[in-house]
Amino acid sequence: MTVVPDVLCVEQLSKSFGALRAVDDVSLRITRGQVVGLIGASGSGKTTLLRCMTGLERHDAGYVSIEGKPFGRVSVGGVDRQQTRKEMDALRPKLGLVFQQLNLWPHLTAIENIIRPQVVVLKRSREEATAKAVQLLTTLGLSAKSSEYPYALSGGQRQRVAIARALAMDPALMLFDEPTSALDPELVGEVVALLRDLAAMGMTMVIVTHEMGFATKVSDRIVAMNAGKIIFDGKTRGADLASNRPLAGSHYT
């Protein structure tokens, strides 16, 4: 029997900023199709963990691997080595990151935001990339807005463009950093529906949030962090959350 590697595997990852240990010896495995809600108060280390997992930040110790391939640091004969930029860049499209601030490129239209990285990074032809972008924008209900520049779009529409941009790279894993924070409260329902749709398509996802209610609505597994450590890791679907009392004592009750 062949062993299917985990989509994402984090082993004993640590990251300090000066004296502050932002992420402290964290290990985490995410298997295909899982939707993980990564929660914690601000300063708990969840965003730092996300930035280390996506290679935006260099961690001090530990390993990350994506579908079994090492990402960031590798251990060769017991000696740790930082991967070269090219080694890391080759794996980056596998991680579809949706930033808290979205970071759409304002000088490009919505559809061009989705086409450009496919052409530049994956070397797809313009036709192929355009077809993919049109298909994604249609799926996300944005086909009428494809030739608009980002500032002409609403917050929710921008977010969907950012999601489409990440999805176009055929990622193994989608990561969302605080997907509800930049939106009006009434749009949260829309995001929940969208994330559930993605989950129904079988997309593996990590959703970083500090809103417990939102996290339980969209994810089937909750990982809670405090002071750089994982303090809770468990299923939500079917499980009675109230019985998972390790969380009591923090303010997520």
Binding site: L97, F99, W105, P117
Partner: protein, 240 residues
């Protein structure tokens, strides 16, 4: 005191034209060279670690703290010490380019720093290399904002090129000094020289203005297409 004699200028017009041409040649070459140098310096300053940034600061503080004429003398009289003998006009171009590159580099660096960091990060996150991120995401966004400061610096460059007369480069000011020596008609001569500098600077400013209007056009058109944006934001109409 003799009378103001405009005919003198007509008589010496070929000299003025020659000087103007030489000035244009030097300014264009120094601009291209200096700007290219400025881009390279600005990008190098973003290499990891504190050292690259510090080196750029030292470079620009040193150059910006001395008058151009002194920098020119150092390069002009200094190069032969190192066995480098170049035609004077190349020394002139290189000196201007090096001197201005410090200013251009700081302007370019400032424009990049002013962009939200997330722009670079989102380009890197999809797998673009730093060079690709610069080419597709950073450069197109800073270009528009760079036009006004670059224009100012280039207008200064045009005027600073007059200093080259002190190492006998036969540009506009030098021709003016010769004309003055021949005619003793300083007022007529330098009025004419001023007029030529004014024309050069106006043309440069006009070109820059056109460039800026053109770079605004696509987004302005998109805004006008959007009724809500048009209602809430009052954007200056950019004519074609």
């Amino acid at each position: 005191m003799s009378k103001f004699d405009p005919w003198l200028i007509v008589e010496y017009a070929p000299h003025l034209a020659l000087g103007a041409w030489r000035t244009i040649y030097i300014v264009v070459a120094a601009f291209l060279l200096g700007y290219a140098f400025g881009i390279v310096l600005a990008l190098l300053s973003f290499l990891p670690g504190r050292l690259p940034r510090t080196l750029l600061t030292i470079y620009s503080v040193c150059l910006r703290s001395i008058p151009f004429i002194i920098a020119l003398f150092i390069i002009y009289y200094g190069l032969p010490f190192f066995g480098v003998r170049l035609p004077t006009i190349y020394v002139a171009i290189v000196s201007l380019a090096v001197y201005k590159s410090a200013y251009y580099a700081e302007a370019i660096r400032g424009a990049i720093v002013a962009l939200p960091r997330g722009q670079f990060e989102s380009a890197r996150a999809v797998g673009m290399s730093p060079a690709q991120a610069f080419r597709h995401v950073i450069a197109p966004q800073i270009l528009r904002g760079l036009i006004p400061p670059s224009t100012n610096l280039t207008l200064m460059l045009i005027k600073e090129s007059s200093v080259l007369s002190s190492i006998a480069v036969a540009e506009l000011t030098y021709q003016g000094l010769i004309m003055q020596g021949n005619t003793y008609a300083a007022l007529e001569v330098f009025t004419a020289v001023s007029a030529v500098y004014w024309a050069l600077c106006s043309m440069t400013a006009w070109l820059a203005h056109r460039l800026e209007a053109r770079s605004n056009a696509p987004q302005a058109a998109a805004i006008q297409r959007n009724r809500i944006a048009a209602r809430y934001l009052s954007f200056e109409r950019v004519g074609k």
